[in-house]
């Protein structure tokens, strides 16, 4: 089969019971859990400080760190085959393109918006 090699090297580093089983050690799981909780507190705490336009980016950065932890450890991506990571990252990439191109456009004609203007559509 083209891609179905046993990943023995990876299995050896973990509690291997079966060639393709990789159980994440409990310590790692608990550590990630604790980190996520701390980061949740941090992201709430960050709203007490006003950094102007960076507010959004800081909140997003913290959320991204949290998401990365979840993906890497809870979702086993660190121990997984790279093709799964490629699928995931591709989806994020296309989402980013979708949002950013839509944003380029919308910002350009924002001043022309006339809120609530369409009387005949009143239902």
């Amino acid at each position: 089969m083209a891609e179905t090699t046993h990943h023995g090297a990876e299995a050896a580093t973990a509690t291997a019971v079966h060639p393709f089983v990789h159980a994440v050690p409990f310590k790692v799981l608990a550590g990630v859990f604790a980190a996520l909780l701390v980061l949740t507190v941090v992201t709430v705490a960050a709203t007490w400080v006003d950094l102007g336009r960076f507010n959004l980016w800081i909140a997003m950065a913290i959320a991204t760190v949290k998401a990365t932890l979840v993906v890497l450890y809870f979702m086993h991506m660190r121990y997984d085959r790279p093709v799964n990571a490629i699928v995931f990252v591709t989806a994020l990439l296309f989402l980013a393109l979708f949002v950013s191109i839509a944003l380029i456009d919308t910002r350009a004609y924002q001043p022309e918006m006339i809120p609530g203007y369409a009387p005949a559509m009143e239902r």
């Binding site: 089969m1 891609e3 179905t4 509690t15 019971v17 079966h18 060639p19 393709f20 089983v21 990789h22 159980a23 994440v24 409990f26 799981l29 608990a30 990630v32 859990f33 996520l36 909780l37 949740t40 709430v44 960050a46 709203t47 006003d50 507010n55 959004l56 909140a59 997003m60 913290i62 959320a63 998401a67 979840v70 993906v71 450890y73 809870f74 979702m75 086993h76 085959r81 093709v83 799964n84 699928v87 995931f88 591709t90 989806a91 994020l92 989402l95 979708f98 949002v99 839509a102 944003l103 919308t106 910002r107 924002q110 001043p111 918006m113 809120p115 609530g116 203007y117 009387p119 009143e122």
Partner: protein, 267 residues
Amino acid sequence: MSDTHSPHLAHHFDSPVQQFESGKLGMWIFLATEILLFGGLFCAYAVYRANHPEIFVYAHRYLDKTLGGINTAILIGSSFTMAWAVRAAQLGRQRALKVLLALTIACAFGFLGIKFVEYEHKWKEGLLWGKRYAPHAEGRAEPAADPAAAVAATPPAGVNAEEHTLIPPPARGPAGLAVSDHADERLHLEQEAPKNVQVFFSVYFAMTGLHGIHVIAGMALLGWILLRASRGEFGPDYFIPVDLAGLYWHLVDLIWIFLFPLLYLIH
């Protein structure tokens, strides 16, 4: 034909490894579709927030940060128990698996319960989406604006009060100044509700609603997994369903990790 013929191996796969990896890849692709599904809502959020930041800054204060924070912690907790459950399945620890799955489902109930409290609160105050947006004066969480004035200023349906212009006033929503000057935007917002606050609540209900539906679907899925686990179906040889359900559940958590700051923590 494969020599290690497990009862869980479907006829068209050659080996359990091939089957396992196919399942995992399939699940990741499914998660990719979920990301793009929510992506549309994230895109709508980004576009409206870029266009009308004042609406988001004004309206997010009607959301309860504390409840949102608790819900975030609950979901993270459920993700943790889920990841632990997968570990238990891989190691064949049947009792731990069942307890952890049950805990995960319990967390999901907790999340939905709190979500219900939040929704009910907004329902009572009329802080609903688009056309249903009709805020009441009493019982408001924050005294940020005078909603009574906002309601009064809404022109009666079908009547165009303004003369000599082709452009009638906003058909719906509280009247007020749209903030164009970003410099003193915050000052403004302390006092007056911007136009089209309902846009925020449309986005809020669309995003949390779709997420809530995913939570419910996840609970059904986990319930089924728990049922199978209680029959002792899973172990080191066969834990794909637990693993895949876990992946789905983590994605639900992942989306909430972004929704929480985007909706509750605007400032």
